[in-house]
Structures are given as structure tokens and as C-alpha cells.
């Protein structure tokens, strides 16, 4: 869209010092994230206000039984109905379709997809934005495995993880190695999602559901010729709540790799 005709730039006179007239929309898929949601929204709001960026958060809740939606409504009361958009769904329909659902309500021209627990910290978003602008990238993704960003920038700090035991590290490295060898996607971390894509094209193209969705997004983007950059991020494993990674996910992952191998 024309950045000079965006709602932000038309109304920003005297309110923003920033030259950034883009609006950044964050899609947060949630399921039983009652404890995490307020904090992550607080962190996002703080990051965006500090950077003087126009923002919104689309909360896609899959009918959580623990009252996540109630908390989301309270947050909308605090931050504004135009900033926190609660767009729930009727049941647990999966990660990929949650993003697609959220895209219908996005009014910004940049979309950030991330986890609602604290494993993806909003403090990296400004680095993502700077990298995207510097090289006009279509997608910027976070990587836990690199110490420098790709393309290189001076302000990137080394990536890392916390709270992983050896088995988890092995599984993660093994999974990425498998995907890397079979699919050669061009990014070093396929399983940590935290992206800043500008295009709806890829997301609507990807057909998988669940965690394979993230991997498919990257592979398809590369196949379609989009430019991708990487920023190192630190990934602190779940503090509250249970992770949704189980044995069936592993099988699904292998199947997903095979499907991508034969179709992309």
C-alpha cells in the first residue's frame, strides 16, 4: 500500500516523531494462554511505544477454556479496541489456519507472527524492522542458532536458547538438519517462528496445519523467490503452561518434510 496514504501517516501530524508511517500488526494465536497473554501484550505495547510505531495485536483464540478471551477483552479496555483485536474461533483448529484467520482482520502493512508465550521476545522486533528496511526484504525471520544476522548488521546480538535439556536440543538440531538437507531452505532455523512478512501471498499459499506451517512458509517463500533475512534471537523456553509439542507432532513433522519435498 502507499505508505503516504496509510491511516497512520494521514493522522500522525504532531503525534509521532518517527518517520515510520507503516503500521505493524501482530497476529497472536492463543490457546490457554491466560497467564502469558497480558505480559506479552504489555511487552509488545512497550516496544512499539518506545519505537513510536503504529501497531495492533490480533488475538486469535481457539476457544480456550481457561478464560484467555476474557483477559484479552480487559487488555482491549486498557490499550484500546483499535489496538487489541480479539478475533476468536470456535475450536482448536491449529496454528496455520489461525494465522490465515488473523490475516483477515489485519489493517497494517507489515505482519508479525510470533508465539504468545515469552519464547519470542518483542525486544527483537525493532531489529527485524531495521533489517527489513535496510535490504527491502520480503521476510525476516528469527534464528536461535546464529550469532550474527544475515545479511549482516552491527546491532545484532548472538542468538541462543534457555531452558532446554540435551534431548530437546538434540531434537531441535536434528529436525533442522533433516529439513535443511532435504529441503535446503536457506535459513538456519526453520522451527522457531517469529517472522515479519509483508505479503499475504505466502501464507495463503501454505497448506499445512500446525508446526509444519512455519517450515512450509519458509520453503515456499524461497521457492517463490522472496528475499529472506535472519536476525539472531534468544529463545527462553516456556515458563508457564505446557508446550504443545508431542510425539504425534514429530511424525507430522516428518510427513510435512516429505510432502514439501515432493510438492515444492
Amino acid at each position: 500500500m502507499n505508505p503516504f496514504a496509510s491511516p497512520t501517516s494521514l493522522t500522525m501530524q504532531g503525534t509521532h516523531r518517527s518517520l515510520d508511517t507503516h503500521k505493524y500488526s501482530v497476529i497472536l494465536p492463543t490457546y490457554n494462554e491466560r497467564a502469558n497473554l497480558p505480559v506479552i501484550v504489555w511487552l509488545l505495547a512497550r516496544t512499539f511505544t518506545e519505537q513510536e510505531l503504529d501497531w495492533e495485536v490480533v488475538v486469535v483464540d481457539d476457544a480456550s477454556p481457561d478464560g484467555t478471551q476474557e483477559v484479552a477483552r480487559q487488555l482491549a479496555g486498557v490499550y484500546g479496541e483499535d489496538k487489541i483485536l480479539l478475533r476468536p474461533r470456535a475450536g482448536k483448529l491449529g496454528l496455520g489456519t489461525a494465522y490465515i484467520h488473523g490475516l483477515n482482520f489485519v489493517t497494517g502493512d507489515f505482519v508479525i507472527i510470533m508465539d504468545a508465550d515469552f519464547s519470542h521476545h518483542p525486544k527483537f522486533i525493532p531489529q527485524f524492522i531495521r533489517l527489513q528496511k535496510a535490504h527491502n526484504l520480503d521476510i525476516v525471520t528469527g534464528t536461535r542458532y546464529r550469532a550474527t544476522s544475515k545479511p549482516a548488521t552491527v546491532d545484532a546480538l548472538p542468538g541462543g536458547v534457555h531452558g532446554w535439556d540435551f534431548k530437546r536440543k538434540l531434537v531441535s538440531r536434528g529436525a533442522n538438519f533433516l529439513a535443511d538437507t532435504v529441503l535446503n531452505p536457506g535459513v538456519s532455523d526453520l522451527t522457531g517462528s517469529f517472522r515479519l512478512p509483508v505479503l499475504r501471498h505466502i501464507i495463503t499459499e501454505t497448506v499445512s496445519k500446525g508446526y509444519v506451517f512455519q517450515m512450509e512458509m519458509m520453503v515456499r517463500a524461497r521457492a517463490l523467490g522472496y528475499t529472506v533475512g535472519e536476525v539472531p534471537i534468544t529463545f527462553v523456553d516456556r515458563i508457564f503452561g505446557d508446550s504443545k509439542l508431542g510425539a504425534s507432532e514429530v511424525v507430522g513433522y516428518a510427513k510435512g518434510i516429505w510432502t514439501l519435498f515432493v510438492s515444492v
Binding site: R34, A35, P38, V39, W42, L43, G67, E70, V71, Q74, L75, G77, V78, F118, H121, R144, Y145, A147, P158, G159, G160, V161, H162, G163, W164, F166, K169, L170, S172, R173, G174, N176, F177, T181, V182, L183, N184, T234, F235, V236, I239, L260, F261, V262, S263, V264
Partner: protein
């Protein structure tokens, strides 16, 4: 063309080339025929072992270089308490 199809085509070409050199229909350039005779039968196994070592090396390197970030964890804990206090004051239910 999908990756699988590309891989299949390249694989077929490689196998045919290998078979032709193995059965002496073609000769391997730059290598003496006697030496080629000894190497070619074991070549696929060597490829397999090399790939296996590469896999192990790659995953091992990956495990060794995966950085721990305790400072990020501590910083995050501080931020969580700050966020909860702030939001509790504004009327949001935080656990």
C-alpha cells in the same frame, strides 16, 4: 519442478553413469583403469559412510554451538513481574 523430481532425475543420471563405468562401458577419465576397477565397487558405501559422518558432524557441531542465554532468562523474569504489577494496577486479571 519439485525438489523430489529434481533429485530423482539427478539420482538417475548419477546411477546410470556409475553403472556404465562399473561395467566398463565407459572409462573414468583421469584415473588409471586398474585403480578405477578397485575403487568403483566400493564407491557407494564410501558415499554412505561419508554422508553418515557429515550428518553426525553437523548435528554435533550444532549441539556444541547452541548458545545458552541465562541473561535473557533473568531479564525476562524481571520484565514479567513489572508487567504484572503494571497491569494489575490497571485492572487486568493477572495470575
Amino acid at each position: 519442478m519439485a525438489r523430489a523430481h529434481r533429485a530423482a532425475v539427478l539420482g538417475t543420471i548419477a546411477i546410470i553413469a556409475y553403472m556404465l563405468t562399473l561395467f566398463n562401458v565407459l572409462s573414468v577419465p583421469l584415473v588409471d583403469a586398474k585403480i578405477a576397477e578397485q575403487i568403483l565397487p566400493v564407491f557407494p558405501w564410501w558415499l554412505l559412510v561419508s554422508f553418515g559422518s557429515y550428518c553426525l558432524w553437523s548435528i554435533g557441531m550444532g549441539l556444541a554451538t547452541l548458545r545458552e542465554c541465562p541473561e535473557a532468562y533473568n531479564e525476562l523474569l524481571v520484565e514479567i513481574t513489572a508487567a504484572k504489577n503494571d497491569l494489575r494496577a490497571k485492572g487486568v486479571t493477572v495470575d
